[in-house]
């Protein structure tokens, strides 16, 4: 006969055995489907006159790329690099030692070019070191003279992106001599030519490995070669690009991008039902271009939609969490409706502490693209921004 100890063990085993389940069975709706999801769909049009664009968020040179163009329909642009002061001596073993220049190198990155336009050539010019953020297109363009040409790069017609490098040695180093009056500062301008009008994007100071470099290889009168770096590389102190003409923003449209960059804030109606009771299944923001999107070739840019934390108009801080941001590509020439899935963003409009029911729209990258979409607003009938919200009502669990 089993002992009570065995009985207790048997009981424990049986209790564990009781955890095994396989409950799923095919339903026969509606009879064997108590309740059932009810999916609904609402179209939320932007609130009248509560949508607008604001400019001034990112200036030329603050983005990752600089824009350069020649006889380009959208604009005429020149790029400017100014490097920080290059030291005239190296500190070696407790002494400042003057150096002699062996050679110099300039590098810059071609970020994008339209391969349909052949014969692209980039020109580097010496610019006055007085160039700064107040310099205008006219100021700078006047310095683009044959006499101030430093070098040029002929770009193969098949090349879209490339790191360009020019080395100056021997007598050529004179082309990059920095006069004493310039205090070791080098300023360069970039212009292009091609078989026809076109544009390019080149790397700016914020482009990481795509940023321009100015390298000086030197010789120092010291035998201590183990501790002395004989390369002098001043950083980019300032860079920008200037445009001959700047398009004006139409207050009846929602403009994204441009320079300085424009963003839009669009407010939507948001019912108590959607805030408190709906389970969002899908939410699609639809933006209708007022005209074909302008841009360069097939250079892609992106429309980003973000919820905002608080509504301060054009200065509303957007939610930075990338998981609530949706970006979609917008290609030059498109006239199709731009659809942005914003379900995640709209979940922040729900709950007990919702954020304002508005979306901040911007272009990525800002101040670094020729793409400048303009979308219809509540002031352009037929082109009003809208969100199509698909949601499930609360499941009728109480329906037995």
């Amino acid at each position: 006969m089993p002992s009570p100890r065995s009985l207790a063990r048997l009981g424990a085993v049986l209790l564990l055995a009781g955890c095994q389940e396989q409950l799923a069975a095919p339903a026969d709706c509606p009879n064997l489907c108590p309740g059932g999801y009810h999916i609904r769909e609402d179209t939320l049009f932007a609130l009248q006159d509560l949508d607008s664009s604001s400019v001034g968020y990112v200036n030329a040179g603050q983005g990752s790329s600089l824009l350069v163009s020649w006889q380009f329909p959208l604009s005429e642009d020149r790029a400017v690099y100014k490097f920080a002061r290059r030291t005239d001596s190296l500190f070696i073993n407790g002494q400042n030692r003057a150096y002699t220049i062996d050679s110099l190198a300039l590098e810059l990155s071609l970020g994008y070019r339209d391969t349909l336009v052949k014969g692209l050539k980039l020109f580097l010019y010496r610019l006055p070191v007085t160039v700064d953020s107040t310099s205008t297109f006219a100021d700078i363009d006047a310095a683009f003279t044959p006499a101030s040409t430093v070098d040029s790069f002929l770009v193969d017609d098949s090349v879209v992106t490339k790191r360009l490098r020019a080395v100056f040695s021997g007598a050529d180093t004179t082309r990059l001599i920095i006069p004493a009056a310039d205090s070791g500062v080098l300023a360069l301008g970039v212009q292009i030519r091609a078989d026809q009008g076109t544009a390019v994007k080149i790397g700016g100071a914020g482009a990481g490995s795509g940023a321009p470099t100015f390298t000086t290889y030197v010789t120092v009168p010291s035998t201590d070669t183990g501790t002395v770096n004989r390369v002098v590389t001043p950083s980019v102190q300032f860079n920008t690009f200037v445009s001959q003409t700047t398009p004006t923003d139409d207050p009846n449209l929602l403009t994204l991008g441009g320079v300085p960059s424009a963003r839009a804030l669009v407010r939507f109606p948001w019912s108590v039902k959607l805030r408190d009771s709906a389970t969002l299944v899908r939410a699609t923001l639809q933006l209708i271009p007022s005209t074909a999107v302008t841009g360069l070739g097939q250079d892609s840019a992106f429309v980003a939609a973000r919820p905002i934390i608080a509504d301060f108009g054009g200065k509303s801080p957007a939610v930075n969490d990338a998981s609530f941001t949706t970006i979609v590509p917008v290609m030059p020439g498109t006239t199709d409706t731009v659809s942005v899935e914003v379900r995640r963003a709209l979940t922040l409009w729900q709950g007990t502490r919702p954020v304002p029911p508005a979306l901040s729209l911007s272009l990525i990258p800002e101040a670094s693209s020729f793409t400048r979409p303009t979308f219809g607003s509540t002031r352009t009938p037929g082109l009003v921004p809208r969100i199509i919200v698909t949601y499930a009502l609360k499941f009728p669990f109480n329906e037995p």
Partner: protein, 395 residues
């Protein structure tokens, strides 16, 4: 000093501790497609001995959660629980499926009060079972386009009853008993929808439905002749309060139960019984209809069975039990449906350790149907373990 697990009292404590840890939330009976609607499939908190006789011995069984008057038949302080692993085959227009699960429909402890004719018991039993998980696929038109959807709806839990009962013997032939029931429990529900088009995010909503109510019953047993015992039961359950996530949503009327049975000792080796029960579940009909359900109906249940004693010196040693049962089910799947079930059962059991431990076992085949559309075939093992730590007391 280390505990002595051979001590029957300690073993009892350990077993009861295990029962408590297992939790009343799992103390529900076998689930069924007929437990999807209404309050679920009514539970059967009976011992394997009663289930083995089709339920016909239930009104006379002191360890079953049924007739408080039968408590006077307890010969020893007894604790036990019942385990019911089952396999079912489900057939509906939506498809067929095989399902398995295990439940604990009954836990009990009780015994006679020494020196009196009183028996007391406390138990936790299944009142209605709402364990299910349904899966379905379909097409829904969303944004003007047909989208394939897959839905699952699951429910885990149900209604349980906590019974406090007592019975007293009035003379040598008749016993009366009464019981209070605290009806409680919850079902955790989980509804999911998955869209074939991944542009639509899968959704999931959950809720917990909790139930609370009261009930009481009066029972009687009477030894009509040396060979014939009769039993009767009247039970009334109040309205159950139903909350969804702690918010009261509706009340539902629970039924009156009228049950009667007769047990006949045909010989020293053979005992047979027949019993019937009528439950007024239609009282819940209007409450359920108001919530969008298909309603409920009164049910009638009839069972018959017998036990053959193989060893007259030890009647509890491997008797043979047989039973049949027919019952109507209160909550139809479809409007106007009349679900019913028919079952056959066989069982046995034994006592050991000087009758202090017991194992009872029954096998039950049940066929449930509603018209020719909804069918279910269930095979259930009913296993009961019991302990009488002090042995049987002589009166």
């Amino acid at each position: 000093m280390s505990p002595d697990l051979r001590d029957p009292r300690l073993a009892t404590v350990l077993l009861l501790l295990g029962l408590v840890l297992a939790g009343p939330a799992e103390a529900v009976a076998q689930s069924s497609m007929f437990g999807v609607r209404g309050l679920g499939l009514p539970g059967r908190p009976l011992t394997p001995r009663s289930r083995g006789t089709g339920g016909s011995f239930g009104l006379f069984d002191p360890e079953s959660d049924l007739n408080p008057a039968a408590l006077t038949a307890q010969a020893a302080v007894t604790a036990g629980f019942v385990l019911t692993p089952s396999r079912r085959r489900w057939e509906s227009p939506g498809g067929s499926s095989s399902i398995r699960e295990t439940r604990f429909p009954l836990m009990y402890v009780g015994g006679p009060v020494p020196g009196t004719r009183v028996g007391l018991a406390a138990s936790i039993g299944s009142y209605a079972d709402r364990d299910f998980r349904l899966a379905s696929t379909g097409t829904e038109t969303i944004r003007g386009q047909p989208v394939e959807v897959t839905d699952t709806l699951g429910s885990l839990g149900g209604l349980n009853e906590i019974r406090l009962a007592g019975g007293v013997a009035l003379g040598s032939k008749t016993s009366l008993g009464g019981a209070f029931y605290f009806i409680t429990g919850s079902s955790r529900q989980d509804a999911r929808r998955h869209f074939a088009d991944t542009a639509f995010i899968a959704i999931r909503q959950t809720a917990e439905l909790s139930y609370s109510g009261l009930g009481f019953s009066l029972g009687v047993t009477h030894q009509l002749t040396p060979a014939i015992r009769l039993a009767g039961l009247v039970r009334s359950d109040t309205r159950a309060k139903v909350d969804v996530d702690s918010t009261h949503v509706f009340n539902v009327d629970l039924p009156y139960t009228f049950a009667a049975g007769a047990q006949i000792r045909g010989s020293r080796r053979l005992t047979v019984a027949v019993s019937g029960a009528y439950r007024t579940w239609s009282g819940a009909n209007s409450d359920l209809l108001a919530q969008g359900s298909v309603g409920s109906r009164n049910t009638f249940e009839l069972s018959a069975g017998g036990e053959v004693t193989r060893n007259l010196r030890r009647p509890t040693n491997l008797p043979i039990r047989l039973g049949v049962r027919y019952a109507q089910i209160p909550f139809p799947v479809a409007v106007g449906g009349k679900p019913k079930e028919f079952g056959i059962s066989v069982g046995s059991g034994t006592r050991f350790a000087q009758e202090r431990g017991g194992v009872d076992l029954s096998l039950e085949q049940v066929w449930r149907s509603e018209g020719s559309t909804y069918k279910e075939h269930a095979f259930t093992l009913i296993l009961g373990l019991s302990i009488r730590p002090y042995g049987e007391q002589r009166r």
